[in-house]
Structure formats: C-alpha cells, structure tokens
C-alpha cells in the first residue's frame, strides 16, 4: 500500500540523474524526497558511489571552514557539569529505582526461601531486563532516533498490537530497534521473523522473536539502514527461514 506513494515520490534515479544531482545532494541542497532517491542509488551503484567518494575529503573539509570562536566560560561550565547532571546508566547499573525493587525483592525472598533459588535468579534477570527496556525506550524517545510506525496486517488485527522501528539518522550503521507492544505468541512451532527489504526486493533476515507485552529486538543492519526501503514481519518455522514463507503480520516503509 505504501509502494504507490513511493513511486510518486521518485524513489529511484538512474546513474545519469544521480550524477547530475550528486553535488547538490552532498551539500544538502536537495529536498528530502530527491535526496532519498540519490541516497538509495548510491547504496546500490558502485560507480556512482565511487564518484561520490571523490568528494568525501571536500565535504569533510567544509565542516572545518567556519571561523573559530572561543566558547564562552558559561558554556564551558555547563558542559563540565553534564556528567554530574546525567549520571551514566552504564556506570551505575543497579542504582535506578533500587529501593522499590529492594522491597519487592525482600518480600519475594521470604516466599522463595523454600522454593527454587533458580526461580529467584530468573526473576532478578527479568527485572533487570525490564529496567533496561525502559531505559532503552526512554532513550529512543530522544530526537535523533527516527521512528517508523509499522502497519498491522490482517492476522494480527484483532490484537491491540502497536509496532515501531527506530534507527539513528546520524549513524545509519548503528543497530536499530524493533519495539512491539501486545504481540500475541506465535502459533506452536512458529516464530516471528523480521525482514529488511532492499529497493530491488531482496529480503535480508533481521532476526527471530516471539510474542510478549513488550518486545524489544535489537537489529544490526548488514550494511546501512539507508540500503533498505521497507520492513516486514512474517510468521515462520521456529528455526527461521532463508526467505519469507508465512503470512505477513507487520509492514512499513523506511
């Protein structure tokens, strides 16, 4: 359903059109839809990408041409204060919301004294994961993350499923995150599989996952997110498929 809109937006350019617009693209003078078409072409055409690469040192050097102005002392103070104002989750992994977890843990420990220690450990791991998920979701709410909302296909339309994929515009080679709420478990012996769809229709697997109240799937792009045009999720055998075979449940354009 999205592809009709996309052809109207000139999602593809050929080599001649790409090279005609290359300098405009590199300095940011193209409107976003035209820039996207050139970007896609550069990710799929080595010849044009090689031409673009000849400009890389010039584009880099342009960043260094503004007049150098000393940062005001007030700014230096503000930046110096950042680590204290924003303690790092990684540096203090167990600090966040610890008192309430502590209370809960104490109550649970009594209950578990006669139960299996293994169960308790699992619970702790789950709580840590839950907190990590919350941290991640708060982090994804920040501005440089681009959110792509996924459409829910027919097999899941009775469930209150919400799904989005997040990736960094600034660093399209960094991992993206697929976040799904209220995803029912897949049928017995099956799993959900994410597909990354290139402009030429080739599908790369983005990973397997199961249902849950909140699914968080980190996805490493094989190259760059800019190399992909769409995402899809299908129901596949539990061990996964080399290509989609089952019904599609989620889809969206990148």
């Amino acid at each position: 359903m999205k592809s009709e809109k996309r052809t109207g937006m000139r999602i593809t350019v050929n080599c001649r059109e790409c090279l005609e617009q290359l300098e405009l693209y590199l300095v940011g003078a193209l409107p976003e839809d035209e820039a996207a078409a050139v970007r896609f072409h550069l990710h799929t055409c080595q010849t044009c990408a090689a031409e673009a690469a000849t400009y890389a040192p010039i584009i880099e050097a342009l960043h260094y041409t503004p007049p150098l102005v000393a940062a005001p002392p007030t700014l230096v103070e503000r930046v110096a204060a950042l680590p204290a104002q924003h303690p790092r989750a990684a540096a203090h992994p167990h600090r966040t919301r610890w008192p309430s977890w502590n209370t809960l843990a104490a109550v649970l420990v009594i209950g578990l004294l006669f139960a299996n220690i293994w169960l308790y450990r699992n619970w702790r791991t789950a709580q840590t994961e839950l907190q990590q998920q919350r941290n991640l979701i708060a982090h994804l709410a920040e501005e440089q993350w681009r959110a792509v909302h996924l459409n829910v296909d027919e097999p899941l339309q009775t469930a209150p499923v919400q799904a989005a994929f997040y990736y960094s515009e600034d660093d399209p080679t960094a991992p993206g995150y697929l976040i799904i709420r209220n995803l029912p478990p897949p049928p017995a012996g099956k799993a959900y599989q994410l597909w990354l769809i290139r402009p030429d229709g080739v599908r790369d697997s983005g990973g397997l996952f199961r249902g849950g109240e909140t699914v968080v799937l980190p996805v490493e792009p094989p190259t760059s997110w800019h190399a992909y045009q769409e995402l899809g999720v299908t129901i596949e055998p539990a061990e996964g498929s080399p290509g989609p075979t089952g019904p599609r449940v989620l889809n969206g354009g990148l």
């Binding site: 193209l30 150098l68 000393a70 960094a174």
Partner: protein, 196 residues
C-alpha cells in the same frame, strides 16, 4: 585550554571508547579539545550566541551519553561532532523558521580568535580548504545549502535567480574545490575517504 588538550594529544578513538564506558576524565579531555570548534559551527549556522551555546551543550550531552555510537572507521571524532552539530543547528533554525542573516549582524570582532577557521586550530590532516577560492556567487550558494540547510529552490527564491543557475553554481563550486584540492593540489595532505 584548547592548546593544553592538543599537547596532551591523546588518541581520540581511545577517549571515545573511555567515554562510552562512563569515564569522566576522557569526557573532559574531549570537550577541552573540541568545545570551541563545536560552538563555532553552531554559531556559524545560528548566528545567535545563546542558541549556539544550547546546541553545543546538547552535542556534548550526546557525546557523553552516546559515545558508543561513534565508529572510528567512518572518520575522525571532530568531523563526527561537527556533522552532528551542523544537523542539529540546521534543524533548530528550520524549526524557528529563521533566515540566514548577514555576517555583519554578529559582531565577531569582539571575540578574540575569530580571525582563524576551525582547521587552523588543529594540527590535523583535514584538507586546508578555503572557500575564498570560489567566485562569490558560487560560494554563497554552497554556503546557503551546506550551512543553512536551504534547498536549491529556497536559494533560488531567496536570491531571486533561476533554479538552474543555483544548481550549476553549486555543482561548479564543488567541482572546482575538488579540482583545486584533490586533482591539482597534490601537496595537500589527503584525509582518508569517509563514508558519505
């Protein structure tokens, strides 16, 4: 402050790795080294010292929180910071719907170091590129796009010239810079090609 950090000359990639693990001393080294450059880029684009301060602070907050996203094979740390700063500042002026104003409106002469460009402060192997090499009209179009985020049609409207003229000024300008600095200027040290 900047000089001291340059003398210490710690490896940036190493510093970024340490910041990614929450090392405050490494963070301090990086901002002592690069805060002026980041502020200068933000000021160049916004022409507003207060907004430039906010942007520079945001960029260093991102550095503090997300140094792990930096990939050394994609280019040097300062280029990464300047590129984030540029994107952020362009977003801000677009959000505020502000037009670029004349250079004279910002009194840069008050500020002691404004007679140098960012590259002059760094003993680095980035191309020593000067936009003065270009005819003024090519330089103007290139800067309006690169530093102020204006599209070719915005520029054509602003300068009241045909769209085709703007396109060819930008193309010729960039081609000329490449010819001067890369094809003829072999004495210039080249930087490794980064992923554009």
């Amino acid at each position: 402050m900047l000089l001291l950090a340059l003398i210490l000359d710690e490896d940036d990639t190493d510093l970024m790795h340490r910041v990614a693990h929450g090392d405050e001393a490494a963070f301090r080294h990086l901002y002592e080294k690069y805060l002026d450059a980041v502020y200068s880029m933000a000021l160049k684009i916004t022409r507003d010292p207060h907004m430039a301060e906010d942007i520079a602070q945001d960029v260093f907050l991102r550095l503090w929180q997300r140094a792990g996203q930096y990939r050394s094979q994609r280019g040097r740390v300062l280029t990464w910071l300047l590129s984030i700063t540029r994107n952020h500042a362009i977003d801000r002026i677009r959000y505020d719907n502000r037009r670029p104003v004349a250079e004279e409106e910002l009194d840069l002469t008050r500020l002691e170091t404004a007679n140098r460009t960012i590259w002059q402060a760094f003993e680095d192997d980035v191309l020593r590129l000067s936009l003065d090499e270009l005819p003024p009209e090519q330089r103007q179009c290139l800067e309006l796009a690169f530093f102020y985020g204006l599209s070719h049609s915005d520029i054509a409207e602003m300068l009241n010239v045909p769209l085709g003229t703007v396109k060819s000024r930008i193309r010729l300008g960039l081609q000329k810079l490449r010819a001067i600095y890369l094809e003829e200027g072999q004495e210039q040290s080249k930087s490794p090609a980064s992923d554009v």
